[in-house]
Every structure is written in C-alpha cells, then in structure tokens.
C-alpha cells in the first residue's frame, strides 16, 4: 500500500511541475499591462485627435442632464464649457485631466473645473445635498468594448453618473467658442418678477413655469371646455448652434408638436426672454393674472387647514420682486430654519394665525400677525389684520415682521394656484410680483 502511495505522490508532483506555457496562449495575446497601455493610448489619441473637440451630455445619478463641451490636448490640459450657469456657459475654463488605469481604464478630470461644480459636496457650489453634491462624478471609467470612433461612453466611478462624448463638427465648435452655450439664456426666465408668465405657440397662449434645479418645464393652457390642461417635460440645453432648449419628451397638442425652443435671446435692457418655436418667434410675457382664475382654490386651501385642525407651512416666506425670502425673515431672532411661516385656519373662533415661527429653547414659538380672511367673488382671498402674536422683539425682527404683515394684509388679496395635492402658491393679486408657497 505504501508503495502505491509513493507512486501516486510521484505522479502528482510531475503534474504540478509541468511547465507547459502554451495552455493560456489563446486567451489574450498580450500581457495585461500591454493591453491596458494600448487601451489608454488609444483613448488618449481619440480624445486629442478630435480637432473640434467633443460635445457631451452628463446624466447625474439623479438623471438630471447637463451639457458640456470639451477640448482635450496632448499636454493633459482640457478646456470646457457647460450649461450649469451663465459663467460656465459663456467662458471656457482650462484645467487638467489624465488617463489612468484604476480597476478599469479611467479618465480623470484631476483639478477643479466646471464638471466638479456638480460633484462638489459644498451646497454653496450647487445647492445640492451637503456632503453629497448633485450626485455626479469627475472620475470616469471606460469600457473599450463600447468603442466607436465618434462616441465615447463613460461611467462615473463614485456615483455612477453617465457621460457620453460625441465628436463635434467644426461649425458647433466655432459657435460655442463664439457664442457659448446660448440655450442657457433660458434660465433668465427666473428673473421675471411676475409669477404668471405666458408664451404664444401657434396663436394660442400658454402659461410656462420652470424648475431650473431639476430641469423641468410645465406648460398650462385652457382647452375647448375652458379647463386647464398641463404638460411637463424634462429638458436639456443643446451644445452650440441654435441655442436650444430641447424637450426630452415632445409636446403635442392637436396638430402642433414642439421638440425644442430655439434661438434663445435675452434682452438685458427690457429684461425679455424670447425664442423660436417651430421657427416662429415668441417672447415670454410676465403678468399679474393667470389665464383663468381658480375661483375655488382659496376656499379649498383654507378648508384643508381648518378641517385637519393643523397648519400650512412656508419654508422661506414671501418671494418678492424676484428675491427669495424678500423680507429677510432669516434675520428674525431665533427664526426656525425648518419653516419661517405658518398659516392655521380656524386657530380660534375669532381669527386665523399666520405668524413667523421661531425656535426658542427647543420649542416652536409664533411671532407675527393674526388675520381674518375674506373671499371675493372673482376668486381672491383678502386677509384683514386682527392682532399680533409673540410680544416684542428687537428692532430688526420687529421691522421684518411688520413688512411681512403689510404684504400679507394688502388690500388686493391673493390668487391661489394649486401645484400639488397639498401644495399651493398664493400670488399677490396686485401685480403677481409677490408670492408664497404653502406646503403641508
């Protein structure tokens, strides 16, 4: 038995020590390092050998699209434009990049530039989540199996955002260098002082509202029964040429179909935004009234609070003449950062409460007006001043809350626009230049 065991051992050791290198020759014909080098060199050459650079679309992990233009050179330098804001859209910025073999061949934008504005964890950079930013990347890995001459698909290493580069034609590169990413002018719509904004498409009036942070726009119009209909789409900006806002979903109404707003123009003197829709020019007009007043909205809003025996909140108080928190409620002593104001219908039998909210010794405390509301036949709600909660504070706080009270109790009253199941915008009926958002 022992003898057999020995032969088995012997046979096994022969097997282990065999050194036939031919077995894996057919899997790859070069070493991993050689193949990585080759991939990185090819990618480098492809990036640099685009004489007019690359246009690119970056989808953050939250699926918000951003448009970029990149021009790479052989010396690890890259110049970029982006649609993030007016500076990034019209002024190119140079920074560095390099290609590196991480777990995959990777493209790294390795010093700060526009693309990092989206990834920056500091909310002052991008209004994003502290410590997270807008869930975007500046390190991207490259899958060589997706290689195409005119398209490079990259995936972010940290958040998994997607960056797709498309080789730019000469005309687009020239247009971007001369005019920037003109579509970004569309963001000036936020500079209109009026809540209600209208455009005309094919002879019909539409109300337009824009959520610039999430890049969505909503069109509202009256149908043949004189009832509101709505269309909402996400949008992105074109890279050069036409200066367009491109709808991710086309807008179809009857026999008209709109895919984009083109040839974006902003007139600084008259503060007017205009663009072409299917080749016809239209200007955005700011107004004090909606297409149709929702006559029942004020009572609907009021009764919700009354029936629930609880209150509406407003995070940042009134938006006034183009300024969020237009009365600086943030400067009221101990203002509660969660919501600056509340409205409680039926606070007691005699009046409602619509004060500011402070956080004092760990408890919420109200400070400001009590009001009595009344409705007008044409669909406005007017608030009459009844009294003041919360005693006297310092002069600054007193001045602020007095301004809030004056606004709230203006004689013209307010229109109400329902923007969600439990969300209303209360818009000054005087001129539409002051409004407050109530949330539940």
């Amino acid at each position: 038995m022992k003898k057999y065991l020995l032969y088995i051992l012997l046979a096994a050791s022969v097997g282990v020590s065999s050194c036939d290198k031919g077995l894996d020759d057919n899997v790859f014909d070069e070493s991993p390092d050689a193949r990585l080098n080759k991939t990185l060199t090819e990618l480098q050459n492809q990036l640099v050998d685009a004489p007019y650079g690359w246009t690119a679309t970056l989808y953050t992990a939250d699926s918000v699209p951003y448009t970029f233009y990149f021009k790479f050179d052989q010396n690890n330098r890259v110049t970029m434009y982006s649609d993030i804001n007016a500076t990034t859209a019209f002024t190119g910025k140079e920074s560095s990049y390099r290609l590196k073999s991480l777990q995959q061949p990777s493209l790294i934008f390795d010093t700060y530039s526009y693309i990092h504005l989206l990834a920056d964890p500091d909310p002052t950079a991008n209004n994003g989540t502290p410590g997270e930013g807008l869930h975007s990347d500046f390190e991207y890995f490259y899958d060589p199996t997706t290689a195409q001459a005119d398209t490079i698909k990259l995936t972010g290493r940290f958040y998994g955002s997607h960056l797709t580069l498309v080789r730019a034609p000469q005309a687009i590169a020239a247009d971007i260098q001369a005019n920037g990413l003109r579509g970004v002018l569309f963001s000036n719509i936020s500079r209109y002082l009026n809540y209600f904004k209208r455009i005309t498409i094919d002879g019909k009036e539409y109300e337009i509202s824009v959520d610039a942070q999430n890049k969505t726009l909503t069109l509202a119009w009256l149908n043949d029964n004189d009832e509101y209909e709505y269309f909402t789409t996400s949008y992105h900006f074109s890279a050069g040429q036409n200066g367009s806002v491109i709808f991710d979903e086309p807008f179809v109404n009857g026999n008209i179909s709109v895919n984009s707003f083109d040839d974006m123009q902003w007139d600084e003197g008259s503060s007017t935004l205009s663009f072409a829709v299917n080749g016809a020019n239209t200007s955005v007009v700011g107004l004090g009234q909606p297409l149709k007043v929702d006559v029942e909205a004020p009572l609907r809003w009021w009764l919700y609070s009354y029936d629930e025996d609880d209150y509406w909140i407003s995070r940042r108080g009134f938006h006034v003449n183009g300024v969020d928190d237009g009365f600086n409620m943030r400067n009221i002593a101990n203002i509660y950062s969660g919501h600056y104001m509340l409205y409680w219908a039926g606070y007691n039998a005699a009046y409602d409460a619509s004060p500011g909210v402070r956080l004092v010794n760990g408890a919420l405390s109200i400070y400001g007006p009590a009001v009595a509301p009344s409705l007008t036949p044409d669909g406005r709600m007017v608030f009459n001043y009844v009294g003041h909660f919360g005693g006297t504070l310092d002069a600054v706080s007193t001045g602020i809350i007095t301004n809030v009270r004056t606004q709230l109790t203006q004689a013209a009253g307010y229109y109400f626009v329902q923007t969600g199941a439990t969300r209303y915008d209360m818009v000054s009926a005087l001129d539409g230049k002051a409004w407050i958002t109530w949330e539940w």
Binding site: L9, S17, R98, P121, E132
Partner: protein
Amino acid sequence: MKKLFNLILTIGMASVLFSSCRRDDNDLSVADDILGLGGDQWVKNDIDRWLYDNLTKPYNITVKYKWDQFEYDISKTLVPPEESQVIPLWNVIKKVWIDPYNAEAGKVFFNKYSPKVFVLSGSNAYNDNGSVTLGTAEGGRKIVLYAVNQFRVKGMPGYNPTTDSAFIKTWFIQTIHHEFAHILHQNILYPQEFKLVNPARYNGNDWINVSDAAARRDGFVTSYGSSAFDEDFVETVAIMLVEGKDGFDRLINNIPAGTSPNGTTQAEARSYLRQKEAFVVNYFRQVWDIDFYSLQARCRSALSEFL
C-alpha cells in the same frame, strides 16, 4: 532500510521535477510596461515646477494637488482643488511653518521630522453628524488639507477679513502646527507632569459637545484639546504659534470671572493654561533646543502678513 532509501530517493526525484522549469533568461524588460510604476505621469506645468523648487527639492515634501482617489477617505464625496489655489496656499504655509522652524531649528531638524506628503482636497470633508473635518494625518507622514478652494488671504479676490482670517488659521495653519507637534512628541514625549495639570477636566470623546470658550474656562486652549493629553499638548503648541504671544495672553485674560460649570475658578483656569505654556516652552528648549518664544514670534509675524 531499503524501503526508507526508496522513500528518500522518490522525494529527491520529486524536488528535481519541481525545480526543473526556471526561465532561462533574466530579462526584466517586460517590467518597463507596468502601468503606474514610478507614479502618475503628466506634463509638468508651472505649478509642478514651483512645488518642486520650493518644497520637494529643499525639504523632500510632496504636494499632491491632482486628484488621486486612494489618498482620500473613499467613503467621502470630495473634489480636487482649483489649480490657482495651490501656490497661494503653499506660499503661506511655507512662510508660517517651514521658514520659522528652519530659522530656529535648522534644516536637518526640519527635514528629519516634517511630514513628507501633503494631499489637497478642494472641498470640505462632511461627516454624518453635519460637522466637517479640518484635516487628517496618517502616521506622521501624510497630511490631507481640506477646503483648499475656500482659502483666501489678504490680497486675494473675495478676501473677507472677518471670516477668512479665522478660517485659514483653523483650517490650515493650526492643522499643520498641530500635526507637526504630534510628530515631535511621538519621537520624544513631553514630561508626564503635563498630564497632571488638570486631569479631572478632560472630556474624552465628549469634547465635541463643548465650545472652545467653555473649554478655556476649564483650562484648555480649545475644546479638542480637552479630548486627550496628547491632543491637549499639541493644541497648546498650535494655538500659541498661530495666535502669537499677545494673542495667547489675550485668550487667557478673556476667561470670564466666576466658576465654570465643572467647578474651575477663573484663577485656576488661567493658572492651568500658564502651566501648560511653561511645559511647552521648556519641552522645546530642553528636548529640541528651540527658543519657543522666538519661534512663536516668527510664526505669528509671518502669519499676520496675510490676515
């Protein structure tokens, strides 16, 4: 006996077979192609040259300003610094840290003990509890500096004296003095008596709930100093170097009258800080042959140029 011989013979044969396929050449040229061997490569620019001439060549210090994920905490969202911030930041650090130590203690001392790798992050490092990290150090060798993109000193656009002077002191200068003092005491420890100045007042991990002002009433320069003996020692060094003699005296004199919630009187708190000051000064003189007050004057006057 014969069987045993067979066994030995068989084992001998097996080992011959195992070792029978050595490569017949010593060709190492294949190693030339290993990616990243010798560090990352890029085309050098003026920033790289400035860092090399002013930091790497004289002091063997590397400043990594280009993004390299593996130098940072990979659980954090961070961004690389703006290129235009690198030289202004290091011009300040050189003048308020490198130059004073070299002038007082010489290049041999400095090059022997200084940390050798600095990594820059453009943004702050946010923690889950909402706080941010000022700087991190690893083993006396590497220091990560955060929020480099927010660094502003006098003469830079957007400099705001009321906020920026405190910011650059705590985020950058105090961090470096702090970490360098750690390296010094980890080589030769300060006297044990330092730990006996106010041992009952240390807060341990609870330091985060204590304000600097409250910590001072118990005889600590900062709340972080109240976390542990070593931190107390290096915070005392760092605050003395950042604030200068006048600033340190002012800090002690500003301790308000009365007794702290922990039962420390104003006189006791002031006395604790004066004792710690004396320990620091003696430690630098006896252990490192450095005149601390002279070093302090150099550090502070260099820093005040930028505030």
